[in-house]
Amino acid sequence: MKRGQEEIVGFGVLLVVLAIVGVILLGMYLRSPVPESGLFPEGGSFLDALPHVTSTCALQGDRFISAHELMVQCVTQPGKQCASEQRVCSVLNGTLTQAIHTAFPIGSRIQGYRFTLQEGDEPATLILSEGNCSTYRGDQRFLPNTRYSLSLFVCG
């Protein structure tokens, strides 16, 4: 075998070894857990607490309703108005956005979020999101005594 041929064979062997290592690493990466399904217990406790928060919407004789009642009102009667003459969905947007911003301020730790309110498998009734993320971790809860579910995913 000539010297040039030997070097070509050596180069080929090197490429094969590198390809094998690459395939092994790629396989390990693909088998690692998807970040979207990551645990996020703070998100769970946030979703547990959120429905109890008192909103700024007064209904039924000036009683300020909870975020839970406001979510139900927004889904079932979106045109309804609070005593302040704001629509229930508009107040809900404000209440939820403020709560999310207070709990998870966007900065170094949290770079974005995605909150949804939906009924069963239907398309989400309400989506709030901020930031541009590719992978999220979060949690989901059912709104007590309803068919609606809340989910919050954050990234950072």
Binding site: L14, L25, L39, D48, A49, T102
Partner: protein, 157 residues
């Protein structure tokens, strides 16, 4: 002479391969350590949620709804100078209303944002979970619940 040259070439190739694999090993190890760190953080948060969940559901702190904390009860417990810490096996326990930075004292209560029930001296990183914190609001003449947080550090075995 030609034989020496070949040995040198082979040695270079072997060194290059060893360096390549060493770099790959460092890259892989750092990647795995990063994911392990994320998992540890998530598990610590989960454990924090469990501890705080137990505390929130005690009759001494329970508010008007399931999983809610009574702001007044937290204040009353805080007046016991941390004696509840031994009973609940916690080194540190505090209740916060998010968005209000003022610490509660006899002068500032109830228009304040942080009640320390068990003042820990060196509690490290407290475990935390969100909770609705409820109190009677005289301005709207009804019970008001705000988004709050329970911070606890346990482990007095």
């Amino acid at each position: 002479m030609r034989g020496q040259l070949k040995i040198q070439e082979m040695a270079f190739v072997i060194v290059a391969l060893v360096l390549l694999f060493a770099l790959l090993a460092i890259f892989f190890t750092s990647w795995r350590l990063h994911s392990v760190k994320d998992e540890v953080t998530a598990l610590q948060e989960y454990a924090g949620g469990q501890l705080v969940g137990q505390l929130v559901n005690t009759p001494e702190l329970e508010g008007p709804c399931q999983g809610c904390v009574s702001w007044d009860s937290a204040w009353i417990l805080a007046q016991r100078n941390g004696t509840i810490g031994d009973r609940w096996n916690v080194d540190y326990l505090a209740v916060e209303i998010l968005g209000i930075n003022q610490t509660c004292t006899g002068q500032t209560y109830p228009a304040c944002g942080q009640i320390t029930i068990v003042p820990g001296k060196a509690y490290g990183t407290a475990q935390r979970a969100f909770s609705a914190v409820c109190y009677w609001d005289h301005t709207i003449k009804q019970e008001r619940c705000q988004l709050g947080m329970i911070l606890a550090s346990g482990g007095k075995a």
